[in-house]
């Protein structure tokens, strides 16, 4: 008797589950479709153009003689738009307002050599790394000659300069608490501070320190060959968009496997074959 009741009960529950099954699957599909429709990928396809936020920083992105944007990030963004079969629109944005501008919807994705950090990841989503970089040190010969890195630089008499909103500022604040830190709005001002001898040193993403030492060998030098704070760069996009994250991750995967990303990185960072394209 109990076995029959149990069997009848089991059949009843299974048939109910079978009835409920297709309904919940349908709801699941509807929810999935709604999520997919909201994705920035769909927005880009509807619009017919990919809007990319970036900032000028040699050689990631800069202006050439014709006034057009060139650089590693520009190449990456152009290829991405080509693969998505849409037009490309660059939205040059001031760097320390670039994440708020992304969140405000001024563009779809940041492709600007943004280093992946936990603090930034709390506000935006990052794709997989498509490039890596490290920072280097640039120091004024007159002020910093003979000082050893990093111990002699953690001193109350030492002044650092950095670009507001960049990862070097955070690195300097964390590792050189005793030194004074001066923040500036753009990279040019930071380098000029060190060249003029108003700051002992600055930390900046390679290859900028290397280029500056090459151009001003009697004024500045590199106190260390150490690759400081090696980091990875990824695209930044708004949170809550799994489709876009998946698409960009796989685009990076494909282009890394094919060697295209490395080849472009070597072209822009490995030397200066592009130097005649910019007005100098």
């Amino acid at each position: 008797m109990r076995i029959i009741t149990g069997a009848l009960f089991a059949i009843a529950v299974t048939s109910l589950a079978w009835l409920a099954g297709p309904a919940s699957a349908q709801e699941g599909t509807k929810a999935q479709q709604a999520l997919a429709q909201e994705s920035v990928i769909e927005v880009i396809k509807r619009r017919g153009a990919l809007r990319v936020g970036m900032s000028t920083f040699v050689p990631w992105a800069m202006r050439d003689k014709e006034g057009e944007l060139i650089g590693f990030e520009v190449d990456v963004a152009r290829k991405l738009a080509e693969d998505m079969e849409v037009d490309i629109e660059f939205v040059p944005t001031a760097w320390d307002g670039i994440i708020p501008a992304l969140l405000a919807g001024k563009f779809d994705v940041i492709i600007g050599g943004m280093t992946i950090t936990a603090a930034r990841n709390l506000t935006v989503n990052f794709t997989d790394a498509y490039a890596s970089s490290s920072m280097g040190v640039l120091a004024n010969i007159e002020l910093a000659e003979g000082m050893s890195w990093p111990d002699d630089f953690d001193d109350a008499d030492v002044t650092f300069a950095c670009r507001r909103g960049g990862t070097p500022c955070a690195y300097l604040q964390a590792n050189f608490p005793k030194a004074t830190l001066r923040q500036f709005d753009d990279q040019g001002q930071v380098l000029q501070e060190v060249l003029n001898g108003n700051a002992h040193a600055t930390v900046s993403s390679q290859p900028l320190p290397a280029f500056t030492v090459y151009e001003n060998p009697e004024t500045v030098f590199s106190p260390t060959e150490e690759l400081i704070d090696p980091g990875s760069e990824g695209f930044a996009l708004r949170k809550g968009d799994p489709d876009a994250l998946n698409f960009f991750d796989n685009w990076i995967l494909v282009n890394r496997a094919s060697g295209w990303l490395d080849e472009r990185h070597d072209y822009w960072f490995g030397g200066r074959p592009w130097a005649d394209q910019i007005a100098e």
Partner: protein, 297 residues
Amino acid sequence: MYPDPDRPRRVGAIDVLVLLVLLGAGIAIGLRVSDVLVYRWDWHFLPQVLVTRSDAGGWRPNLLLEGLLTTLRLSLWAMLIASVLGLALGVLATRVRLLARLVAFGYVGLIRNVPPLVFIFVFYFFISSQLIPVLGVDTWARSLGEGGRTAVAWLIGPPDLLENLLSGILCLAMFEAAYIAEVVRAGIRSVPPGQSEGAKSLGLRPVQAFRLVVMPQALRAVAPPLANQFILLIKNSAIVSLISVQELTFIGTEVAVSTGRRFETWIVVAAMYFFLCYALAWLFARMERRSRLAYAR
């Protein structure tokens, strides 16, 4: 009371002396700067960032000149909107009705007491990011044909970055309107009450009296401060570079970073702003002189 501005001008000994002193000071500063500043001056990049060959074979403006044109367009549109808004608010501030005066003083008080930079950030990130997508500016700009896009590019700016440009224009206009409202209010108050009484005794209705008798005198009285505000608007337009409008200051930063010639670029940008503001000041001085001759007291 002051020397006749239309007298013939002659260059005297004092003029030459002052010029020599200024030249000497300039050279001394230049030498001192080149001692302190470790910098290699190089102006060869300048023609390339000003003009470049267009596809048709002629010349077209390049980066810095394009930035200058954007600043010009930005300032003109902001001036237009700010004048209309400022005029309306200034007139409201002199009304007898409390509501009119509250609106005017509320607007002026709110905006004048906030620094322009802070106002622009707040406006851009909180207000315009909600307002402009609702207006559908981006979809409209994309739906334009070739002719429409060229027209918009000539009148306002590149259609791709239209939303940002509109935010910048609105920001500047709202900011300047507060100051223009105060200037207009001062002008209206400076007209003697006998004028409006005389107009009413002639049988003009209050609105006509205001429009035909008080306002022309008020505006003529405050023409110099109004001109001042317009010139200030051009200089304040540099602030919208922080919301990434592609005007002269923003492009100046990009050129300075891309070419590495920082000081040369900034000197050229400063010179461009100077000539723009000077040209406007000269224009206003001419208008003032002509209006003074027409209504000689």
